[in-house]
């Protein structure tokens, strides 16, 4: 089904864990790096002046700044945020938020979480999404949001300049999680790819359950995406990479029991003739939902590299 570089991943994980053991030191490093990024921004740009007051948050107090939204970032292992406003004489604001997500994987994950398009607003090698005055992009371990609302053409250009400044300062490579590369490319809707480690996001394209029936925890990597098919409704492909085979086996059994009427087969269909698949290879589980035919479901499963 695929050839994974599991060993390499374990090494990366070990390095990350080692870094986490020095949490305080890392937090300080993280804060310093973020402060350095905003110090690198111009004091004035067009009509806008950099506010002398920036704010820094961590996982313990992020909810103060993002009312009701902090859990999303914490579910992606958020470390620190720096918020740097720009203001003009009318007291309007451009809000710059730079998140240190701890790793490029998590930065990619949070960026991919809700985007509906991918553009090159910041640069040709940077995945971003700009719409209506809100820009989000990721580079290296950083996820960046710049909000200038209400949108004007002038503000849009200012947002672009600020974003490019930040992106140029970030030297780290934007490495996507290897799991993403397992997705077959044929008929893939690129903007639909989601990457996460929290069960809440399983229902993004197809409602399964409010419960964590697939035992997704922070050690489980999940990637999902939509695929264009002949019928209007896209098929959904989900790949789950568990820590060990036993957990994957248990998850497969639970899925079949709850969503495939307990059938032994790896493929089944519902009354609407939409096919579901649940196929396991060692510690990797591949699920297909809403496929219009058995052949489509099989093609998606077999396409996982």
């Amino acid at each position: 089904m695929r050839s994974r570089e599991k060993t390499l991943n374990l090494i990366i994980l070990s390095v990350m864990l080692a870094a986490l053991t020095g949490k305080l030191a890392m937090g300080n490093d993280s804060t310093s790096r973020l402060e350095s990024l905003v110090h690198g921004l111009p004091e004035t740009i067009e009509e806008w002046h950099k506010s002398p007051d920036f704010s820094v948050y961590d996982a313990d107090n992020l909810y103060i700044y993002i009312n009701g939204g902090a859990e999303l970032y914490i579910s992606y292992k958020f470390i620190n945020l720096i918020s740097q406003p720009y203001v003009n004489l009318e007291d309007d604001e451009i809000k710059i938020d730079i998140f240190d997500m701890g790793s490029p994987y998590n930065a990619y994950g949070i960026f991919s979480h809700s985007r509906e398009t991918i553009d090159d607003f910041v640069g040709s090698n940077i995945e971003s999404e700009y719409a209506g005055g809100l820009l989000t992009f990721w580079k290296g371990r950083y996820y960046v949001s710049i909000l200038a609302y209400p949108e004007t053409e002038s503000r849009k250009l200012t947002v672009q300049k600020l974003a490019r400044n930040i992106a140029e300062q970030i030297q780290e490579e934007s490495v996507k999680p290897p799991l993403v590369a397992l997705l077959p490319e044929e008929n893939l809707q690129p903007h639909s790819v989601r990457y996460f480690r929290h069960y809440t996001w399983m229902n993004m394209y197809h409602f399964f359950s409010n419960k964590n029936l697939l035992n997704i925890d922070h050690q489980t990597e999940v990637v999902m995406a939509k695929y264009t098919v002949d019928t209007g409704k896209p098929a959904v492909l989900i790949v789950l990479d568990y820590l060990d085979e036993a957990t994957a086996v248990a998850a497969q059994d639970t899925f079949k029991r709850n969503f495939m009427a307990g059938v032994q087969d790896e493929y089944t269909h519902d009354a609407d003739q939409l096919w579901t698949a649940c196929v396991r290879d060692k510690d990797l589980l591949v699920i297909v939902a809403d496929a219009p035919s058995l052949e489509t479901a099989q093609r998606l499963v077999q396409g996982v590299k």
Binding site: Y63, I66, N67, G68, G69, E71, L72, Y73, L81, K95, D97, F99, S114, R115, E116, E129, A131, G132, G133, L134, T136, S145, L147, Y149, P150, E151, T200, W201, N203, M204, Y205, H206, F207, N210, G232, K233, P234
Partner: protein
Amino acid sequence: MQDETKWKLTRRQFIKQASVATIGSSFLLSGNDVVFAETEMNSKRTLTDVVLVRNKEVLDKRGKPRHDIVLEMLDVAISHLTGKKDAIEGWRTLIKPEDIVGIKTNVWSPIGTTKAVEQSLKARMMSAGVSERNISISDRNVLYDPVFKKATALINARPMRSHHWSGVGSLLKNYIMFVPDPYNYHEDSCARLGEIWTYPIVRDKTRLNVLVMFTPQFHNVGPHGFSPKHVWKYYGLIAGIDPVAVDTIGVKIIQGIRNEYFGEQRPLAPSPHHIEMADIKYRIGTADLNKINLIKIGYEEGSFC
């Protein structure tokens, strides 16, 4: 637990009073005789009344709500909810002159409850005979506000919007500021929010719930959850005595907008199951669409319900 008997009596009282009649002075009510007849019939079946009022004139050229139209929409809703031809009479069935009233608003920028709604509600509290000094409007300060601390009546008003963690920002969620530890209610996508409504600080005090649907946001992008691209001009207000029923209608509309915008079924993720939990577990009201009598007034196109 909430005093269920008392709550039911309150609801029954409103149902009993729903001998609805036309209000000739309001343009919104013209041609709605059928709706009225339907309402009377449904009231006898003891369904829970929820009123949706829509008016395209409610937003001015800058997209700001117009106070006079908001006031009229609220009056129409109250007339239908209380069965009083004279809207002020209707308000007086909800609020007594001796009441001390806390208007629980929501300050989330840039889509808040809005001043127009806040001030309209305040004006109608005063029309019902409440002294201005016994009225307070607050969001995050409700635990410390002197009026809220001795409030005998609460009016709950907020916009509905998609939410990163609870599925939607709902009327039920608006009471999270009545607890000192909001973060302890975030588990399982805020499934326990209904429990807050059983606490003495709010129990049996809520006389009216108003879901502001002028410009609901149906999809979240970025750290502050605000995505201008995903804001829908709906021109509506939903009012009811039962917060669960009103939220249920709100979710139906948000989901309808999502499906329309994305061109496919796109479930809210995470699911807003805290609303269903408020019904099933905490018995705050009903989330069963079959038990809700939706009264639709005004602009009909694209109502999604």
